[in-house]
């Protein structure tokens, strides 16, 4: 008997259904599972609810008309603070939104990960997060002596989570070697099914978990499938292995200038498939040589 979770990006997307709530790990321009996102863009999937600390993942899904609802705290390309495709979709009123604070978002994922209906927080008090259309936040009163009234941040339960890691063995033992793991562990715990794109498959021995323990993301029982996609986070970074591609990000930003520009971007970088994508962005050598951006 073998125990093997390897699959293709197409296999992952075949598991997804219209109307699903999909959590996407990473943060803005960092460690986004972009190869999986591009595979969704190539599919017929629609009416998705996307839950993300958003970057180009959200922008591209908006541009391709895949998003029914977005649950977010921000969408940004960091060096280009305003994500143009996300802006266009919002300004056209073509997506529903639930806007949160970054920490509330964290709390919602944690509640889902703990299988709790909500977690209490003060965050949101005094703001318009509580008055936005489409969702009514409830409060809870502390049952202890202080009697403080708190916001009940609902669990952000996901149908599926997509994340990106640098390494995995075939059993789904993931290593995320970046200094900041972001909230990928919680995304993995908030969803019954979790698919990870990984830059490189390795044997269990090669993971050297004894020395890399702090990079081990989550117990493998949370991971449904792993897809080997070298540079699968590009154009976002998977530091320390490779950095954000600012030049490509500019190309992507420019694609929001007009529908034809987005059409051209799609044709070159998405529709032609991942091998063509890697070639079009310069190949391994160019990506490996990307300089570390300065924040």
């Amino acid at each position: 008997m073998t125990f093997d979770k390897r699959m293709s990006a197409a296999d992952v997307v075949a598991q997804l259904k219209d109307g699903m709530t999909i959590g996407i790990g990473g943060w803005a321009t960092r460690r986004k599972p972009m190869a999986l996102v591009r595979e969704i863009l190539r599919s017929d999937l629609k009416n998705l609810t996307i839950v993300s600390y958003g970057g180009p993942d959200v922008g591209m899904l908006c541009a391709a008309g895949k998003v029914k609802k977005l649950i977010f705290a921000f969408v940004s390309l960091d060096h280009y603070p305003l994500e143009p495709h996300f802006r266009a979709a919002r300004q056209a009123g073509s997506i529903e939104v639930l806007e949160l604070d970054e920490g509330m978002f964290h709390w919602g994922l944690r509640a889902a990960a703990m299988q709790l209906p909500f977690l209490p927080t003060r965050i949101g008090i005094g703001t318009d997060l509580l008055t936005q259309k489409g969702f009514e936040f409830k409060t809870v009163k502390s049952p202890y002596g202080d009697g403080e009234e708190l916001i009940a941040m609902p669990a952000l339960n996901l149908d599926v989570a997509l994340i990106h890691a640098q390494r995995s063995d075939e059993k789904g033992n993931l290593l995320v070697t970046s200094v900041d793991p972001f909230f990928d562990e919680l995304f993995a715990r908030a969803a019954p099914k979790v698919y990870a794109s990984v830059d490189k498959m390795a044997s269990t021995a090669e993971l050297d978990v004894e020395n890399n323990a702090r990079f081990a993301l989550v117990e493998r029982a949370r991971i449904t499938g792993v897809v080997e996609t070298p540079f699968g986070a590009h154009p976002t970074s998977a530091a320390p292995e490779y950095q954000l591609d600012l030049k490509h990000l500019k190309t992507y930003v420019d694609s929001a200038a007009a529908p034809e520009a987005w059409g051209a971007y799609r044709k070159t970088y998405i529709d032609a498939g991942e091998d063509a994508y890697l070639a079009a962005v310069g190949g391994a050598e160019v990506i490996n040589a990307l300089p570390k951006p300065i924040y």
Partner: protein
Amino acid sequence: MTEASSYSLAELVIVACAQAWKDDGEIMATGIGPLPRLGTALAKKLYNPALQTTDGEVFYGDEPVAPGKRSGPVVYEGVANYDRVFSALWGGRRHAMVGPVQFDRYGQANISIIGDHTRPKSAMLGARGFPGNSICHPNSFFFPNHNKRALVEGEVDFVCMAGYNPARYLNGKPPRGLDLRIIVTNLCVMDFGGPDHQIRVVSLHPGVTFEEVQDNTGFPLAKIADEIPTTPAPTPDQLTLIARLDPNNVRATVFKDNPAGDRRAAA
């Protein structure tokens, strides 16, 4: 204290920003944007060596990390990944200085949208961490363009950051950690020390009048006194220090044409 004879508006602003963290003790100081960030660096060097400042990404620097290109190796003293940043700020040990797009008389700040939330005229970033920041730890503000589009009449279009607006309190109680400190702009320094937290002008940048500030503000301002002090000019030592903290001269790029700090000098 000797004042420098010549300094830029950016340098004046950095010195003003640094005041925000002067008496904070050992906390995380976050300045968003080059001038507030240089303000944290100056505060750490001049007043409060206990401050923890980051490299703008994920580490705390032993020394303040200069904005822009690194001129040499950086010694790190700790890690500030997002999970830890949230934990730190929820515990109150942080003082941030941020630059909202809109701001109102209550100190309510907006970086999310202009117009209606369901179909905005302009979609910007999203609320980011503003809601949590505003009720967990002290916050200060920087506006490079002090005008009525930024400091608005009425309320901001989407309140991302709680302020001193009793109509939005839960059960009439101010949010527990709400503590808004100073507002530094290209014209003046303000705080919330007026009656009922009314925003007041505490110092005017050299050559700026109260009337000019009021004319560029969408709500009525109070004054610290009839004779409003002038924002202290950088000393020669402070200018030397700022130059060391900003070897890439990023400060010269913030205001168009890098104007002089004393407008009378320019006239």
